[in-house]
């Protein structure tokens, strides 16, 4: 647990991402980026790409391998597929965040819950719509394994993995310093089939400081 000294009033950018919506935005090297879980227990599915060359992007496997730990928290450096530091987590009042659970999708909901769940809103559609404008130079092949801020996906020594009730609460936040110019893509998770959003998706706030 590490608190930030940055005042929300001093932020150069602030926006609320409603439940189930997406958000895509550039964050410049040296800027600080905060995500606030406004009402608690809200999974925030997040991807990062290098502005300079979007074939360089956040890599979940490289990030956990580099720190030899599956959980993300203060001190974690988010590593790209080219093994460069993209962002560093500099404050975190939640404690840990997941990067193994990925994003929900209509197709994986069919597998996990029922074939008839295909109609339900899912993060992967939000990601695909967020990057749909051709100017981002991103397509489905670029939508890779993401971070789930505020989500609790424990792994046991005997190799089991579960989705547990969140450990986040209202107003908990995570804050990152950008080590390169990045495009951030967020899907504020609409999943209603498991406890990742406490069965009630809620808005989150994003803030940027220069």
């Amino acid at each position: 647990m590490t608190e930030s000294r940055l005042a929300p009033d001093a932020a150069s950018y602030s926006s609320v991402v409603p439940a189930g919506d997406f958000w895509i935005h550039e964050i410049k090297k040296g800027q600080t980026f905060r995500i606030v879980d406004l009402e608690g227990n809200q999974a925030v599915d997040t991807l990062f790409y290098s502005v300079r060359d979007t074939s360089e992007r956040y890599s979940a496997q490289d990030t956990i391998c580099a720190q030899a730990n599956i959980y993300l928290t203060t001190g974690t450096t988010l590593i790209s597929n080219l093994r460069n530091p993209m962002l560093t987590i500099v404050a975190d009042t939640c404690g840990r965040h997941d990067t193994l659970g990925g994003a929900c999708a209509q197709e994986s909901n069919q597998v996990r819950y029922a074939i008839a769940k295909r109609h339900m809103h899912a993060c992967r559609n939000s990601f695909l719509l967020a990057v749909a404008p051709p100017s981002w130079n991103l397509t489905k092949r670029d939508v890779t394994a993401n971070i789930n801020f505020f989500m609790n996906v424990p792994v046991t020594p005997d190799g089991k993995l579960t989705f547990e009730d969140g450990i986040s609460e209202a107003k908990k936040y995570v804050e990152l310093r950008a080590e390169m110019d990045v495009i951030c893509v967020i899907s504020n998770c609409p999943q209603l089939n498991n406890p990742c959003n406490a069965y009630n998706p809620t808005p989150v706030q994003v803030l940027i400081w220069d």
Binding site: S55, S59, A60, Q61, D62, I64, C65, A68, N69, I70, Y71, N81, R83, R96, L100, G101, G102, A103, A105, Q106, E107, S108, Q110, V111, R112, A114, I115, R124, T139, K140, R141, D142, T144, A145, V153, V155, T156, P157, G159, K160, L161, T162, F163
Partner: protein, 239 residues
């Protein structure tokens, strides 16, 4: 071969080398570690539409697992099963970790070049993956998550990842059954968390065969209800 009715062809992937194989729906792939201590990094794509590919999170969360062995399946991002794991003698394969690149191999194992060492130079999995993927029109954007067959990484309660040496013994094997037409890219480079300070990748043997089709009581299908639905999605794709 336990689940293959016919062996179609077989060969060796040399130490530190890579090979992209096409498995037709119904083919089996048996990979054997003749010497022990092998690691085989693997990426999987739908050969007919490669934008559909292996998805680590969907594989893990559908089956509530952080390791792979017999009875589990490998999911694509489209809710379909690329391959089932039909047999396995070593009990644990790592789905969590990445693979080495040129910088990691140089810093861990020292300098080596083609100019001085010819074909004994230190290869790295990333460059091998890029070369093999490019032969099928894929590139850096398509190199997503990989599996590391024969390697074991245990996650402690703190989240710490511990590489377990000696997971694969001489003669150990893993056997897959392709449930779709699959492009699989295999590489025998060392595991990124293997503490061995010496460049010492191991070769593996592989056999491509014709598998017995998965029946209604197939162990991978009935291992959990999620997989029954995964098979439904996959079978609908081929109707």
């Amino acid at each position: 071969m336990s689940t293959a009715e016919v062996c179609l062809w077989e060969d060796t992937i040399e130490a530190g080398a890579s090979w992209a194989l096409i498995l037709r729906r119904g083919n089996s792939l048996r990979i054997e570690d003749p010497n022990g201590g092998a690691n085989v990094a693997a990426m999987f794509y739908n050969f007919d539409c490669p934008v559909e590919r292996y998805n680590m999170p969907d594989t893990l969360k559908a089956q509530h697992i952080a390791h792979l062995t017999k009875g589990f399946v490998l999911y694509s991002d489209m809710g379909r099963i690329l391959c089932s794991i039909t047999d396995d003698s070593c009990g644990w394969h790592d789905p969590l970790c990445s693979h080495n690149d040129a910088a990691a191999v140089a810093s861990k194992y020292g300098a080596s070049s083609y100019q001085t060492d010819r074909n004994a130079w230190h290869r790295n999995t990333r460059d091998n993956f890029l070369a093999e993927a490019s032969k099928y029109g894929l590139g850096l954007r398509d190199i997503g998550q990989n599996v590391n067959f024969f390697s074991k990484v245990v996650v402690e309660e703190s989240g710490a990842m511990i590489f377990v040496p000696g997971n694969s013994k001489a003669g150990d094997y893993v056997e897959l059954r392709a449930e779709m037409n699959v492009l699989v890219i295999l590489d025998t480079g060392q595991h990124p968390l293997d503490p061995n300070p010496v460049y010492d990748p191991r070769p593996v043997r592989f056999q491509v065969g014709q598998a017995t089709p998965p029946g209604p009581d197939d162990p991978c299908r009935i291992s959990r209800s999620e997989n029954e639905r995964g098979f439904i999605n996959t079978e609908r794709y081929f109707l």
